[in-house]
Subunit: 150 residues, 4 copies
């Protein structure tokens, strides 16, 4: 396989800075837990403002956090002047999202010059246990020379 691209030296800071500009993540109460080359973990506390009709976290709220985690996992391996964009994603719902905190763990499956394939798992944590409630696969695009970065 082609060698995995190296992250820039300040990839953690670049993820942090871009995430801070995603107002929607602030609205959802999302926090950055961990950034490594090709990996990002985000968390979101359960909040009644984010629920669907049965009282669980709404599938779209889960998708939002998982998508951002995937985008930033890809972004850690992109060049300095690049912006990252979601092309498409697919969410699978495995169990009702109830508990204290939702955690999204994303990683790069296949990096590429233009297209990066990513995958994330979403867990609900409660009382020291966690349960897999959703998975998301996302195709991310590296944008250059289009006046966007981050």
């Amino acid at each position: 396989m082609p060698p995995t691209p190296s992250p820039t030296s300040d990839f953690r800071e670049r993820v942090r800075a871009s995430l801070a500009k995603q107002h929607f993540m602030t609205t959802l109460g999302v926090r950055l837990v961990r950034v490594e080359p090709g990996e990002v973990e985000l968390s979101m506390p359960f909040d009644a403002r984010l629920t669907q009709q049965h009282g669980y976290l709404h599938a779209g709220a889960l998708a939002s956090v998982l998508d951002s985690a995937c985008g930033y996992a890809a972004y850690t391996l992109m060049p300095e002047d690049a912006g990252v964009l979601s092309v498409e994603f697919k969410l699978d719902l495995l169990a009702p999202a109830e508990g204290d905190t939702f955690v999204a763990r994303a990683r790069v499956v296949k990096p590429g010059r233009t297209i990066t394939v990513t995958r994330a798992e979403g867990f609900m944590q409660r009382a020291g246990t966690e349960r897999l409630v959703a998975t998301l696969g996302g195709t991310m695009m590296c944008l250059r020379d289009r006046g966007v970065a981050g």
Copy 2:
């Protein structure tokens, strides 16, 4: 093809009541525009609280509205005691979501006793024009005898 199931007489009221319980839709500022048998339209005003790092609506916010629209399109054709649940969905992003209002138009592609396949298009409206920015395909499940309705 098997005949399309008939909606219950109060399907509009049932959608309205269930949507009112989706606190996340309230958080997003979503409004119910139209309900017909197998079809639902929702709208969401552009709001800086819902944006990603380049200032467009976050893909997850779009997915949330499109998913709810698909779920309720399916729900219009389900029996009275049923609850509706998203099994999976796939979002395609076609253009940056900028403008005044996001509109999600969902319809049932194939109704079923257990599984209903749905599809939605998402448009950004501005100054009397609209532009297709995202599409979502979702698999919805009809839950019965599990103590949930709506």
Copy 3:
């Protein structure tokens, strides 16, 4: 929206030539029915060699034809020196694939310099009627300067 790219003058011949090199389409008995800018229709006769355990056409056989139709729909709008590649696709199965002939009708939803989003519907024809049995959404990539064309 950006203007849709113009097809090259010989786009029909280019599709025909590339399809002739897809030995798998020959193995499946696939025939080119129609090519227009951004649209391709392929057909495949029902054949017991292509069935799954209940006697219907296998989902993978349907996916194969729908994917090729989508790829060539995208290819009609690509520059002369380009090659087309599937990045990902999603298949939804709506009804058992039984009948005389399977027909795949693909079109470009959103063309792009690098990424083209496509969509196809698959019908089973029998005795003058047709029934929608599957849909496929595919993300296609335009490859240039990599020594591939077609």
Copy 4:
């Protein structure tokens, strides 16, 4: 999580018998490598009859094997009188499928009474090495009382 359902005592024989009825798998030259509760591995030798225009295995051929592997992984956990059906699947293509043998390894991510979520990885083997070339996520349905088994 709910306990994983137990396979029937003859689950290997049931998979083998159903796969033998999938004529399309015979057409593709597919062989059953391994069956465990919730897991199935299939292999397919490279064959020029299965290629796309650049000489690699066609995405649809890969999807066919991965889908069957996922379906049978789900089937190992289904009751004796059940039939298995693909509801939808999503294929991601990671690298050109060239080499000697394609191997599909599928497993159940989340079993369910009606819906089982599965995932498979597809590798190309050559000269003792293997490379991940595709992944597939599939939603499988358990059919009962509809006159189908297998």
